[in-house]
């Protein structure tokens, strides 16, 4: 089952008289239950693509379908609903609300949807799932980076989204914590069939997923699965390519 389908997705930014094609005609299909990474250097368009897939941003042209719903032409309110119901975000900087406790952060998306009498119970179960049941009444400042990111994952899961979009989720974590977090995401994908898309520039992170889509200058330059021959190449070109050959990117 296809959970996400993008066709010729394009985002053009105008800066004065010049145009930046941050995402330049990307077509991408993601099936339910995939665990994949979108790779690229800074300026390759990967963050813009994530924003487009996450319905935070409207494409300049192209088509996008998430979980069977056409996103193009949706109003702001409809986009908000799609984000709330179909998409779970995990950000590099965790992005928890500083004034709310862990469990309140997990419940934040519920505030904007229909009433859910079992919301707190569900949120508690999710904190337990990410191993933070004992921290539910702590505020973000009282939690470590890894713990904060787990709270963010629990928050992303609370509305049972069709897809989790994670933007450099380990970017602010040390390597041991990163590994544990990736293991958690991996488990969620394996055991719960969750579709997860991770945006990263880190080959180690991307290498832990099952599929790597590489971007450069807003275009897909490689799209390989774990059992494909060119999986390692898709992961590694960036690491081995001489810096001079790599185009100067735009953000």
């Amino acid at each position: 089952m296809t959970i996400l389908r993008a066709k010729d997705l394009t985002k053009v930014y105008r800066r004065g008289s010049s145009e930046v094609r941050a995402v330049d005609g990307i077509s991408l299909t993601v099936a339910a239950g995939e665990f994949m990474a979108i790779m690229g250097r800074s300026g390759s368009g990967k963050t813009t693509l994530l924003d487009l897939l996450g319905c935070l941003l409207r494409p300049t042209s192209g088509a996008l379908e998430i979980d069977g719903r056409t996103v193009i032409g949706a109003s702001d309110g409809q986009l908000a609903t799609i984000r709330r119901e179909r998409i779970g975000f995990v950000f590099q900087e965790f992005n928890l609300m500083p004034t709310l406790t862990a469990i309140e952060n997990v419940m934040l998306p519920l505030r904007y949807g229909p009433r859910r009498p079992r919301g707190r119970t569900d949120a508690r179960a999710l904190l337990e799932l990410v191993g933070l049941a004992h921290r539910e009444s702590h505020r973000p400042t009282e939690l470590s980076g890894g713990e904060q990111q787990r709270v963010a994952i629990a928050r992303a899961l609370v509305n049972q989204p069709a897809v989790i979009l994670a933007d450099e989720p380990t970017g602010e974590l040390d390597s041991a914590t990163s590994e544990r977090l990736m293991a958690t995401l991996r488990d969620l994908n394996r055991n719960r069939g969750l579709t997860i898309i991770i945006v990263t520039h880190d080959a180690a992170i991307a290498g832990a997923t099952d599929r790597v889509v590489r971007l450069s200058d807003g275009r897909v330059t490689a799209d390989a699965r774990r059992d494909d021959e060119d999986f390692v190449r898709a992961l590694g070109t960036d690491v081995t390519a001489p810096a001079l050959l790599d185009p100067v990117g735009f953000r």
Binding site: D51, G54, L56, L57, D76, G77, A80, T81, I82, R83, R84, E85, F89, F91, N95, L96, M97, P98, T99, L100, L108, P109, R111, Y112, G113, R155, N159
Partner: protein, 387 residues
Amino acid sequence: MSEAIGNIWRRPLRTALTVLGIVIGVFALTVMGALAEKLNVLVDGGDEYFRTRIFVFDEGAASGFQASSRPVTRDLVERIAVLDGVDRATPVLQTLLNPEEAGGFDLPELLTGIEPETWYDESVELRVDAGRLLEADESGTTVIGADLAERYDRRVGDTITIRDRDFEVIGVLERTLTFPDKIAYVPLADAQAIYVESVPEAFEERTDQLATQIEVFPEDLSTADAVAAAITDEIDGVRAVTPAEVADQIGQASIVFNLIIVGASVIAVIVGGLSVINTMVMTVSERVREIGIKKAVGAPTGAILREFVIEATLLGAIGGVIGLALGALLVVILNAQTAGSGTSVFLLTPMLLLRSFLFATILGALAGIYPALRAARLDPVAALRST
């Protein structure tokens, strides 16, 4: 809601300063309002009290209600009583209860000499709380208003000394919240005897003729203006003032004070409103990232808008309650201080309190709209990636 409460405590100093802005406004509004309420009651009551009578003064009398007015003579009564449309006319002698105590904000305390047999009727709405009203052919007796009873601590049967003369209190009036509260009604002859001591000797031989005004009761109130005009025409040397003119005179004061209230409200709007707008704009720019997060997890525009408006409303309401409390406190203290003299300058009504509170709350809400709109309209991507 609980988040809004939490949020306004994130910056206690700023919240305090913002609230202070509203407090000042609402405080001014409450105190001024209490002043105006009191005045409006006086004015309304005054209208009521004077509504049924035409006052005839000597032409040279200053403004009619001054104790220093030049007297008229009671022979006017017979001349006026025969005019068309006049039901009856009665001489009244009104002077200050304590001449050395003149002035001040509140109504003056008055000594009013009347002829009970011609003055009282159902149109003069005076009721005794205790005792009885004056009757014909008595002397050395007085009916006093509620404020006087309180100030001098006199009850029916007590003796009260007025201008060096002893009077027996035979009645205490029900509180009217206007003129009669501060009036001691005495038989005309007693008032004349007191009055004559303070006026030129020329009048002494005609003591029983003395009056400061003739009060004329028209047969039909709707013809009061015509009757007054006829009196002024027919009789030389007098000026007849209609109930409407009296009401006008009193109303002037009320307009001034109502303008002060409007002024206070405008200041409250400017000070309080601007401080809320300023604070909320700062708050929004500080929380751009949080707004982005909320949008990312699916908060619709309206929800963000609502959250900030609630926060601003809360600021307004808190300022309202504190301003109200301080204002009420000041009013109570000032009233207590002047209570000894039987005077209260302020009147706190539940309506005034409710109005001040609602004013502050609505002000907060309105002032919150613009900053909230800014927040709600933020672009989610820009908001999320802001530092």
